[in-house]
C-alpha cells in the first residue's frame, strides 16, 4: 500500500490549491450559499473545464483522465478545504455508480458528458427514513411496455434539485436495480430542502410513474451499490479532512494573532494542548482517508472495514475540530460574519451524510463478525 503522495500528485495538489484559493474565497462561498441553487453553473463549468475535476477518475476510454481514488481524493480534499460550492461530490459519486453498475455501452453513453463537465449528475439512494443501506430502499421500479417506470420518493439527494442526470437505486421485480433519470423528466417533482450547511444542497424527489433507463442488469445492483457506498465513504472522508485541516490552521493562526492578558492566547498551555490534540485528530483522520483511497485503487482484503473506518474517523475529527475552532475564536467565532461557522456547518452536515460515525463503526465491526 502506498503511504505517500508522488511528486506529480503533490504538484497536482499545489495547482488545485492555487486555483481554488483564487476561485473559491469565502466571499464567493457566501455569495453562492445565499443563491437559490447553491452553486453557479457558469462558474463551475469554467473551473471544471480548466481543471477536469469530474474527469479525474473516469477512464480515458470514456473521456476521462483515468486516474484513481487517490487523485480524486486530492481533488475532494482541496475542494473541502476551500469549501467549494459545486456539485463535485454528487457528480463524482454518480460517475462511480455508473462505472460500478453500467455496461460498457451505458458507460460510453453517460460518462463522457460527466467528464467533459456538460452533465451534472447525482446519486439518489436514501429515502425519507434517511438510511443509506440497501434494506432502506422502497422506491419501486415496474415494467411498462418496453421500458421501466419509477414510483416513490428519494431524499437527502446531493444537488438533487439541480442535477441533469439522476442515478436512482430502486427495488424492481428482480430485486435491487439502478436506473438513470433525466433531471427534468416528466412525473419527477424536485424540492430543495432547507439544510444546516447551505454550501451543500440536498433535495427531496418524488417519482410518479417516471420513465427510467436501466443501468446494468435490473436486479443485479446489490454488489455495485455496496461498492459505490464504500467509495462514497472514502470520497467524503477525503473531502472532510481537507475542511478539518483548514479549520485547524485558521484557528491556530487566530490564536497566534489574538492577544489577551498581554500575551498571545497561543502562549497559554490550555490552548497549546488543545492545538496539539487538534493536530493529532486531523492527522489520524487524514491517514485513514488517504489509506481508504489507496485501498480503492490498489485493492485491500479489508476494503469495507477501511472505508467505514475512514468515514467514522473523519466524522469525529472534523466536528471535534470545528467545535474547538469556534471555542478558540471565542465570541467572534459564534458570529455569522466569522468564517468558522461555514466550516462548522459543513462538518456537521458531513458528519451525518452517508451515515454517522456510529453507523460506520457498526459497519466496520462486521469485518470481525463472530
Amino acid at each position: 500500500m502506498k503511504f505517500g503522495f508522488s511528486g506529480e500528485q503533490e504538484e497536482f495538489r499545489t495547482v488545485l490549491r492555487r486555483f481554488l484559493t483564487d476561485r473559491s474565497p469565502t466571499t464567493e462561498v457566501r455569495k453562492l450559499m445565499e443563491s437559490p441553487d447553491g452553486w453557479d453553473r457558469a462558474g463551475w463549468r469554467a473551473l471544471n473545464t480548466e481543471l477536469g475535476l469530474t474527469a479525474v477518475h473516469v477512464p480515458e476510454a470514456h473521456g476521462g483522465q483515468g486516474f484513481g481514488y487517490s487523485e480524486l481524493g486530492i481533488v475532494l480534499e482541496e475542494a473541502g478545504r476551500a469549501l467549494l460550492c459545486a456539485p463535485l461530490l454528487a457528480t463524482a459519486l454518480a460517475a462511480s455508480a455508473i462505472m460500478n453498475a453500467g455496461t460498457e455501452d451505458e458507460q460510453a453513453a453517460l460518462l463522457p458528458g460527466i467528464a467533459a463537465g456538460d452533465t451534472v449528475a447525482t446519486l439518489a439512494v436514501a429515502e425519507d427514513g434517511g438510511g443509506w443501506d440497501a434494506a432502506d430502499v422502497s422506491l419501486t421500479a415496474t415494467r411498462s411496455g418496453d421500458g421501466w417506470r419509477l414510483d416513490g420518493g428519494k431524499s437527502y439527494v446531493l444537488d438533487g434539485a439541480t442535477a441533469d442526470l439522476i442515478v436512482v437505486l430502486a427495488r424492481g421485480p428482480q430485486g435491487l436495480s439502478f436506473f438513470t433519470v433525466a433531471g427534468n423528466a416528466p412525473g419527477l417533482a424536485r424540492r430543495a430542502l432547507k439544510t444546516i450547511d447551505t454550501t451543500r444542497r440536498l433535495a427531496r424527489l418524488t417519482f410518479a410513474g417516471v420513465a427510467a433507463t436501466p443501468l446494468g442488469t435490473p436486479g443485479s445492483a446489490a454488489e455495485p451499490f455496496a461498492r459505490t457506498m464504500l467509495q462514497a465513504a472514502a470520497m467524503l472522508a477525503n473531502e472532510m479532512v481537507g475542511g478539518a485541516e483548514r479549520l485547524r490552521e485558521d484557528s491556530l493562526a487566530y490564536a497566534k494573532m489574538r492577544y489577551q492578558f498581554g500575551r498571545p492566547i497561543a502562549s497559554f498551555q490550555s490552548l497549546k494542548h488543545k492545538a496539539a490534540d487538534m493536530l493529532v485528530g486531523v492527522e489520524l483522520a487524514k491517514a485513514a482517508a488517504y489509506y481508504a483511497a489507496a485501498a480503492l485503487d490498489e485493492g485491500d482484503d479489508d476494503l469495507a472495514m477501511v472505508c467505514h473506518l475512514a468515514k467514522a474517523s473523519a466524522s469525529e475529527a472534523y466536528l471535534q475540530t470545528a467545535i474547538h475552532a469556534v471555542q478558540i475564536h471565542g465570541g467572534i467565532g459564534f458570529t455569522w460574519d466569522n468564517d468558522t461557522q461555514l466550516w462548522f456547518k459543513r462538518a456537521k452536515g458531513s458528519e451525518v451524510l452517508f451515515g454517522d460515525a456510529h453507523a460506520h463503526r457498526d459497519a466496520m465491526m462486521r469485518n470481525w463478525a463472530a
Binding site: 488517504y290 463503526r361 457498526d362
Partner: protein, 417 residues
Amino acid sequence: MEFTEESVRAAVRTWLEANWNPDYGLVEWRNKLIDSGWGVPHWPSRWYGQDMPTGLLPVIDEEFQRIGAVGVATAGIRRLAAATILEHGTDLQKEKFLRRSLTGEDTWCQLFSEPGSGSDVAAATTRADFKGNRWVINGQKVWTSSAHHADWGLLLARTDWDAPKHKGLSYFIMDMRQPAVQVHQIRQMNGHASFNQVFITDAEIPPEHLVSEVGKGWAVTTTTLMHERRSADGLRNDSTGYDRPGRCYAEERTEIATVQEPYKWYPQRRGRVDLVIQRAKETGKIDDPVVRQEIAKLMILSKTAEWTARRARVAQAAGKPPGPEGSLGKLVLSHVARAAARVHTQLSGADALLAGEDGPMEGVIAEVLVSVPAISLAGGTDEIQRNIISERVLGMPKEPNSDATKPFRDVPRSASR
C-alpha cells in the same frame, strides 16, 4: 567515493558471502565486521565507517537479513553512547569506547533523570567537583535502565551553580564498577522492577572522561536524547538468528535477553490491542452493540496510528522534510493504550477484578490494566509531548520560564525530603 544503491548492495553482498559464518564468536565476528567498514558504514572512515549516506543503510540491512548475518551491537543504549562519543568525544575516548561498544563487550546506562528533575532534565543537581586531579561526583539518578549490569554510565552533572541552569552542566563517562556507585531496583505499580535508582557518593572520574568541555554538557545531552528519540521507532531488538544454530546467534540471543528481561511487560503497557478481537469473541461481547462501538473506536485509533507512523517513515525515506505526522507517534500511543485498557475492562466484566492465574489470560489482562499508565509517562509525558508538538510543529510560543537566566542556585526547587 560515489555510492549508488547497486554498487553498495553488490559490495556488501560480496563481502558477506566471503566472510559471514554463524560459527564465529560474537565479539570475534563483530571485530571483523568493524574492521571491514560494514558494521557502521555511515560513520566516518577514520572511525570504522565509510562515510556512507544514511539513506543507503536500509539496503545494507536487507543484505544482512538476506544472508542472516549478525550486525554490530544495538541492544540497550550502547548505540546512544557510541553516537554521542562519536560526535562529541576526544580521539582518546573514541579509541577507548567506540569499538567495545560496537562489539557489545561494554554495556552502558544513561544517568540523566533525577528524583528532582524528571521532565526538566536540565535541572539536575548531581554535582561534579574537581578535587586534586579528578572529578568527584555526588548525587542521585533515577529511572536508569540497565544500571545493574552496565560497565559505563553517561552522566549529566552540575559543575557550576552560579551559571544559569543549562550552562552549568557537564557530561562525563563514569565507571559504574566502583563501590561509590550503588544501584537499587525500583519496584513499579505493576510489580515489575525495570529501572534503577543510582546513589553516587564520592565517585571518581578521571579528567580524560569529561565529554566536550566543562559547562557544555547540555549540548551533549541533547545529542544523546536526539539519538534516543530517533531510534525509539526503529530499534531492532529481535535476534538475527531466532532459533537457528550457530555460536554467533546463540551469543547474540543471550546479549538481547539480558537487556530485555526487565521489560517483558512492555507489550502490556501499549494495551495489547492485538488481543481485543479474540477476547471479544471468546467472551461473546463482540455481539454487544455498546462494546462493539468501543472496540471500533479503539481499532480506528490503533489503525490510524499505524498508518500515520508509516506515512512518517515513507516521508523520511523519501528525504522529505519531517511533517507533523512524525511528531505525534508518542502521544497517539498513549491514546491507543488507554482506549485498549478501557475495552479490555469491558470485555472482562467482573474478571477485570482478578490478577495472576485467577485473572483473564493468566494475568495478562490484569497486567495491561496496571501497566498502561506508564506509556503516558516514560520517554516524555503526554503533557511534554503536547508542548513539543505545539511549540516545534505548530510554532506556538514557548512556555514562559523563570529559571533560564538566573544563577541555578537561586532557582526554586522541590523541597528535599
